[in-house]
Symmetry: C2
Subunit: 364 residues, 2 copies
C-alpha cells in the first residue's frame, strides 16, 4: 500500500495509500511544483500512515500546520470491517461530525486508515536561513516568545541547546559556535523581498533578547547543511549513549520556564538532557542520554520522564506535542487531561471498537 | 456569557464565553494589534458559540481557515453534566483523541460549549482590493480554478453573479458593471510590495480566463464599500422576495460545473437562483428567490433544494460548506456521507448523549 493514486494540481490535492514514505510523497508532488508541508525529522523513513496515526508534526508545522491540518479525505476500515469514505476534496464541509479529524491522531485505535487525500500547496520560494546564537537558554526562549508576540510567522523556528550543538558539530563539523548556550534556526519562505524583511525582524528580536551573534546562510547549500544539522540532532545524540527523546509541549510564552525546568531536572537526577525542538510551536524534545553500561538507566529514565511530564503539565502543556501517547506515556494521559476527559475518550473507543481489537492497549 | 476572559498577546490567544458576538471579539483583540480571522458574513450579529457550533467560515477563511482551525481550547458540559476542559494554549498536542475538533461543528448535539480559547494572528496590513468582471459565469469559475492551480493564496476570493450584482447595486449604488455575468472580489493582505505582486498575478489569471475588465479600489474606503457590497449580498436579495440561501460546496476545480448546474436548475424550475459565495473555497451560496405571494413557493423550494444538493454531491461536493446540517439538510446527510458513515456518527452521539437530550433531533 505504497502507491500514489492521484496528484490533482487543479484542486491542490494528492491521494495516497498509507504505506508511502513522507519523503517519496514530497518528491512526487514537487515534480508538479507542489509542496506537502508536514515534515517530521524522520521524513525519509516514516510513512504517511504513521504520520496520520500520530498527527505528526515537523519543522515547518509552525507555519503550515500539522498532519491533521493537511487531511481532506480518508478511507478508514472500522473494527467491524466497514469501509468508511470520509471527506474528499472539499476545502470546507460541515456535513456531520468531524470523524476525519477524530481518526487522525488516534494511532489506529479507532480504525485503520487505508487511503488519504491530502492538501498541497504551491512550492514556496527557496528559504532564507538564519542562525542566532545565545549566551543562555533563557535568552533563546525569550527570543522565541518575542517573535511570537511580534507576530512573526517564519517557516522554521527551531532550537538547539549547547549539548545538542556540540553533538551535531562533533559529528557533522558544521563549525557551529560551541560557546553558545543555544541557537535558533530561523527561516523565511516569503516571496521576494518580504523574506529579507521577515528575517531582519527575527534578527532584531533575537538581538533584543540578547543574542551574541547571528549569521545568514550564504547560499542554498549552506542553508541545507544547517537545516540538516537540526534534522540530525537526535542521531547525533545517539552517538553519545542510549538516547531517549521526549516530546513535551508548552504554551509558547512558557518556553523559558520549561527550559529552566529541564535544566533543573537534569541536575537533580544527574542525567544529561540535551534539548532541541520546534521552539516556534512550544514543542521541545528533551533527550535523556545514558551511558550504555549504566545499570540504573531504566530506573532513572522513568524518574526523569515523570518529572518532565509533570513540569510540562504544570505549565499548561502536554506530555506529547507530536509523537503520541502510545504505551510509554499512557499513564500520563489522565494526569494531563483529567479523568473526565479520558472517560469520554474511552466511551468513543468503546463505541467504535467494542471488542478492543484495534491496536489493543494503546492510547486510552 | 458574553465576556472576554483573557487576551494573551504573548501566546496569541483570546479566551471567551460563547455569547460574545464575533464582531465584538474582533474589535477587542484589534486594540492589541491582533486579528481573529473567521468572519461569517453575519459577523456583526452572530455569536462565537454559534460559530463554534457550526464550524463557521466566512470571507477570509480561504486564507486563514475556518472556526475549527482557530480553536485551541474548549470548556464543554456534557449531557450528564460533566465539565470537560479540552486543550488550552498549546499549539501542538497529540495527547488522546481529537475531542475538541469533534465538539466544534457538532451543533450542540454532543455537548454545550461554555468557554473557548481561540488562536489569534497579528493584524495583517490593510488589504489591496480588486474586482474582476466576467462575460460569463463559466469564465469566472475558470479564473478561480486558475488561481487555485497557480497557487495564489489571496485573503479574499469571492464571487457574485449577475443577479446578485444587480440586487446589491440597486440597493447600495456602488456603480458595479450591470452587464457582467459575474464578478470576483480578490484581496491581498501580504506585506509591502508582495500584495501588489499577488493582485497582479490574480489579475493575469482573470484576464486569461476572459475577464472583460478589472479595477482596483482607489483607497481603503472604496475597498470597504466593495467588501461591504459582498457582505450585504443576502440582504440585498431579501429585498426581492423570500430569499432562501443555500450553502453547497464542491472541489474547487468543479466550480464551473456547479455554476452551470445552478443555472440549469433555475431554468428547469423557473426559480431565480442568484449565486454568490466563497469561490476560493468552492463554497457557494445559491439563493432561491420566491415572490412573497407565491403559493407554490414551499413545494418548489423543496424541489430546487433537492436538485442543488444532489448536483453538489454528484460533483464530489457537500450540501453544506459552513452553515451546518441542522434540520433542513438532515435528510441529505446520509445521501452525501453514506449510511455507514452516518451510522458511526450516531454511535458517537449515543456514546456521548445516550438519552438524546442535547439539541434533540438535529444533525444525525
Amino acid at each position: 500500500m505504497r502507491r500514489i493514486l492521484e496528484i490533482d494540481p487543479a484542486n491542490l490535492t494528492v491521494t495516497v495509500q498509507p504505506g508511502i514514505i513522507n519523503a517519496e510523497l514530497k518528491a512526487a508532488v514537487a515534480e508538479h511544483g507542489l509542496f506537502y508541508p508536514p515534515d517530521p525529522a524522520s521524513y525519509e523513513q516514516c510513512s504517511i500512515g504513521g504520520n496520520l496515526g500520530t498527527n505528526a508534526g515537523g519543522l515547518c508545522c509552525v507555519k503550515y500546520g500539522v498532519t491533521r491540518d493537511a487531511v481532506l479525505g480518508l478511507e478508514v476500515v472500522t473494527a467491524d470491517g466497514t469501509v468508511l469514505r470520509l471527506g474528499g476534496k472539499n476545502v470546507k464541509d460541515v456535513a456531520g461530525y468531524a470523524l476525519m479529524q477524530l481518526f487522525v491522531g488516534s494511532q489506529g485505535t479507532l480504525g485503520i486508515i487505508t487511503e488519504a487525500t491530502l492538501r498541497l500547496r504551491p512550492a514556496p520560494p527557496p528559504k532564507l536561513t538564519m542562525l542566532a546564537f545565545f549566551p543562555s537558554l533563557d535568552a533563546a526562549g525569550e527570543a522565541v516568545s518575542a517573535m511570537t508576540a511580534r507576530g512573526l510567522g517564519p517557516a522554521t523556528l527551531e532550537l538547539m541547546d549547547r549539548a545538542t550543538i556540540a553533538a551535531v558539530d562533533d559529528w557533522q563539523q558544521l563549525g557551529l559556535d560551541r560557546e553558545a548556550a543555544a541557537l535558533l534556526l530561523v527561516e523565511s519562505d516569503l516571496p521576494g523581498v518580504a523574506a529579507e524583511a521577515e528575517l531582519e525582524a527575527a534578527e532584531a528580536a533575537c538581538r533584543a533578547a540578547g543574542a551574541s551573534f547571528t549569521l545568514r546562510a550564504a547560499d542554498a547549500q549552506e542553508a541545507d547543511w544547517l537545516r540538516q544539522g537540526r534534522r540530525l540532532a537526535y542521531r547525533a545524540l545517539e552517538r553519545l549513549g542510549i538516547a531517549h527523546m521526549e516530546d513535551v509541549g508548552v504554551p509558547r510564552s512558557r518556553i523559558p520556564e520549561m527550559l529552566r525546568a529541564i535544566e533543573a531536572i537534569s541536575a537533580r537526577h544527574g542525567v544529561p538532557i540535551p534539548t532541541f525542538g520546534h521552539a516556534g510551536d512550544g514543542n521541545l524534545h528533551p533527550t535523556l542520554v545514558f551511558s550504555r553500561d549504566d545499570p540504573t538507566a531504566a530506573e532513572r529514565d522513568a524518574l526523569v520522564r515523570d518529572a518532565l511530564y509533570r513540569a510540562a503539565i504544570g505549565l499548561g502543556g502536554t506530555v506529547t506535542g507530536e509523537h503520541g501517547i502510545g504505551l510509554a506515556r499512557k499513564p500520563y494521559l489522565e494526569v494531563q487531561r483529567g479523568p473526565e476527559v479520558v472517560a469520554v475518550m474511552r466511551r468513543i473507543k468503546a463505541a467504535l471498537d467494542p471488542a478492543g481489537i484495534l491496536n489493543p492497549g494503546k492510547m486510552v
